[in-house]
């Protein structure tokens, strides 16, 4: 965060992240843990899609500002998800390790993403509620991991309650993002200083669509 105070050296790249998954798997809790490092035992279900941001340093000179769209998992809001994954750079599909059905739902989301979302989107599969693994695990880690490997996804088992693997998950996504092009673009703009003809790309480094 200290690097933020010296903006000349650090390039911040905006990236859009969307969370998908069945209802009550803990999407909002994951985001809350990641953004505010809080946990709420009795969280109300999300309405529509919530928006949060968090900046994540990757190395000394680069940080990624994640614009997180936390969509509601309820069936009613199904039509809302395409609005957000259509131009997303990365997606986290969450399932609940205590609910086998939620993994099926997650798989269907992944299929939909692979079909509809822009090419090159980074998808992560997250099995949430790891804190309940001892008593109520319904999905074996190996099964989910195998599926993730097969579909070329990042895979983590997380717990929003204990914060286990939450930051790792987001950091891994940020690291996997194809940032080179944008980085070069942004760096170039910064290095050349004031250049009116190329001011536009510099002003919008996020250019939210990477495809």
């Amino acid at each position: 965060m200290a690097s933020n105070t010296a903006p000349k050296n650090v390039v911040t790249i905006n990236q859009k992240l969307v969370l998908l998954g069945d209802s009550a798997v803990g999407k909002s809790s994951l985001v809350l843990r990641f953004v505010k490092d809080q946990f709420d035992d009795y969280r109300e279900s999300t309405i529509g899609a919530a928006f949060l941001t968090q900046t994540l340093p990757i190395d000394e000179n680069t940080s990624v500002k994640l614009e997180i769209w936390d969509t509601a998992g309820q069936e009613r809001y199904k039509s809302l998800a395409p609005m957000y994954y259509r131009n997303a750079n990365c997606a986290i599909v969450v399932y609940d390790i205590t609910q086998a059905a939620s993994l099926e739902k997650a798989k269907s989301w992944i299929k939909e993403l692979q079909r509809q979302a822009p090419e090159g989107i980074v998808i992560a599969l997250a099995g949430n509620k790891l804190d309940l693994a001892q008593e109520r695990r319904a999905v074996e880690k190996a099964d989910a991991e195998a599926y993730a490997a097969e579909a070329n996804l990042l895979f983590f088992e997380t717990s929003a309650k204990t914060a286990e693997n939450v930051n790792e998950l987001f950091t891994a996504i940020a690291k996997k993002l194809p940032l080179e092009d944008k980085l070069n673009q942004a760096r170039g703009a910064v290095n050349r200083g004031v250049n009116l003809s190329e001011a536009r790309p510099a002003a919008q480094p996020s250019g939210s669509c990477s495809c």
């Binding site: 905006n14 529509g48 928006f51 039509s79 809302l80 609005m83």
Partner: protein, 536 residues
């Protein structure tokens, strides 16, 4: 002594503050003679020798009056509660009666069965295909009942709605036709649920049955009304003659001075009753005397006393005209009524128009319905038949427009007072209600009706199916649109929030996220619109 009296007086006045007509307090302050006079108990009217006696009397006799009144009120209250409880228990009793199979009401005389047994006999007559299928572990369909349906609690189909209820919640009987619809005249007594029992037409109708007795009244009233009308006509004829009496050519104003001549003239219109025949005035039943002189009514010629005569001045007459009370009633009141009536208010005409339009609308509606159903049931649709239907529909709609216009005219007519305003309002409201009802009921000509196409039940079913699909799709789209609109609202709130927190980079992102939402809403709206068009 003086002090004591004043005290008593004041006390009485405070005791009797509710009773009017006493001036005890003032009299106590004035002199003692007045006090003595006023020692009559204002409650029971008992005469008492002096104030102290009255005071004692009030203390002893009337002290408990208030309590007595309270007691009586209490007893009335308890009576009311008792009666109410009894009334609410009545329903239970009725239900129990039904359950004990006591004679309730029977379906026909031949059956011989009673109570619920009787309803069982009708089972074969009333249709059952709407009955809810039985599955194990069902509970009573009554929303307030959670009894399991089994042998003990019973499982009875309501014959009307077809849902299954427990014994207790199906203990009602109404008459149903064989199509399981309510038919109070020719139906059979059937066992139904409470909802069907209370939902039948007329159950909550506090007005009861309305039976017009106007016909009877009219026949009863007709002879009298006719007689009155004839009398009125006769009198008005005479009146006309009387008016013209002094204006005709062969009569000069000079004749008016000659009493005989005037009398003869007036007698030429109606025969005057002979004085000697009448001994008492027919109006007031007093016998004639020197002061109570005989007079002749100029309209009917009867003899009446001078106190029962009205003097009416006519413009052309030298003297006022004498008219008896009954002629006044029969003629002048009637004239007044007629003139008032003919002075019709501007919008009354419109109200009459409304009625005419309404009648025509009813007729055309029926014609349209008939021709449409004929068209749908017929084999081949020809240009001519289709045209007839279309024409009738058009005509009906034109009538509706006229009706609406007239209604607005009435509403815009200025009214002179509140009652009139109220009346007009009522008329307009009723007209509006009628118009809405009819328009809503109006069936559209099916869009797929085409010349030369045979109308079969199959194609109907197909279309029905298609329509259902379209409706479902539409419903889904609507739902999606609502979700999207909600999201727009949420995002707008987020933008406000971000602005307030001065997070302008977030504002930018959020703003850009609004655009696809709006686009999507737009495209969905268009889709819904397209489906609407398809529907038409």
């Amino acid at each position: 002594m003086q002090n004591g009296k004043r005290r008593i007086g004041v006390r009485i006045s405070s005791n009797l503050s509710n009773h009017s007509g006493t001036n005890l307090s003032t009299s106590a302050q004035s002199d003692s003679s007045n006090i003595v006079k006023a020692t009559e108990c204002p409650i029971c009217g008992l005469e008492l020798p002096n104030l102290s006696a009255l005071n004692d009397h009030l203390d002893v006799t009337h002290f408990n009056d208030n309590e007595k009144i309270h007691k009586r009120q209490d007893s009335i209250n308890s009576w009311l509660t008792r009666t109410l409880n009894g009334a609410s228990a009545l329903q239970m009793k009725a239900a129990q009666r039904l359950w004990r199979m006591e004679p309730y009401e029977q379906n026909g005389d031949s059956s011989g069965a009673v109570g619920l047994e009787a309803t069982k006999l009708t089972d074969s007559l009333v249709v059952k295909n709407h009955w809810q299928p039985e599955v194990p572990d069902m509970v009573c369909h009554d929303p307030m009942c959670d009894k399991l349906l089994n042998f003990i609690n019973g499982h009875i189909h309501c014959r009307k709605c077809g849902y299954i209820f427990c014994n207790f919640h199906s203990m009602y009987q109404i008459k149903l036709s064989i199509h399981a619809t309510y038919d109070s005249e020719n139906g059979f007594w059937c066992r139904v649920c409470r909802e069907c029992y209370e939902g039948r037409p007329g159950y909550n109708d506090s007005n009861g049955l309305i039976r017009s007795r106007f016909q009877t009244f009219e026949t009863f009233r007709k002879p009298l009304a006719d007689k009155r009308r004839i009398e009125f006509l006769r009198l008005s004829k005479r009146m006309k003659k009387l008016e013209e009496l002094w204006t005709s050519e062969n009569v000069s104003m000079l004749d008016a001075l000659l009493l005989n001549k005037a009398k003869r003239l007036e007698q030429s219109i109606v025969h005057w009753q002979d004085d000697s025949v009448v001994q008492i005035c027919p109006e007031c039943n007093n016998s004639f005397t020197l002061t109570r002189r005989r007079r002749h009514c100029r309209l009917c010629g009867r003899v009446i006393c001078r106190f029962c005569v009205l003097e009416i001045s006519l413009p052309q007459h030298p003297q006022p005209l004498l008219i008896c009370m009954s002629c006044n009633q029969n003629y002048f009141r009637n004239v007044l009524y007629q003139t008032e009536r003919s002075k019709s208010l501007g919008y009354i005409r419109h109200i009459e128009h409304l009625q005419v339009f309404r009648q025509a609308m009813v007729n055309y509606y029926r014609l349209y319905e008939d021709s449409l159903s004929e068209l749908l049931s017929g084999e081949i649709i020809t240009e001519a038949t289709l045209k007839i239907v279309k024409d009738r529909r058009k005509k009906f709609l034109e009538l509706c427009v006229k009706y609406d216009g007239t209604m607005k005219k009435i509403a815009n007519h200025p009214s002179s007072n509140d009652a009139e305003e109220q009346f007009k309002q009522n008329v307009v409201n009723e007209a509006k209600r009628y118009l809405q009802e009819t328009i809503l009921r109006l069936q559209a000509i099916p869009y797929h009706l085409q010349v030369g196409q045979a109308w079969t039940s199959e194609s109907e079913r197909e279309l029905e199916k298609k329509k259902e699909q379209v409706e479902k799709k539409q419903e889904e789209l609507m739902q999606t649109r609502i979700v999207l609109e909600e999201q727009v609202f949420l995002v707008e709130n987020m933008i406000e929030d971000a602005k307030a927190k001065r997070k302008f980079s977030e504002v930018e992102t959020l703003l850009s996220s609004l655009a696809p939402l709006h686009e999507e809403i737009h495209s969905i709206t268009e889709k819904i619109h397209d489906l609407d068009l398809f529907d038409i």
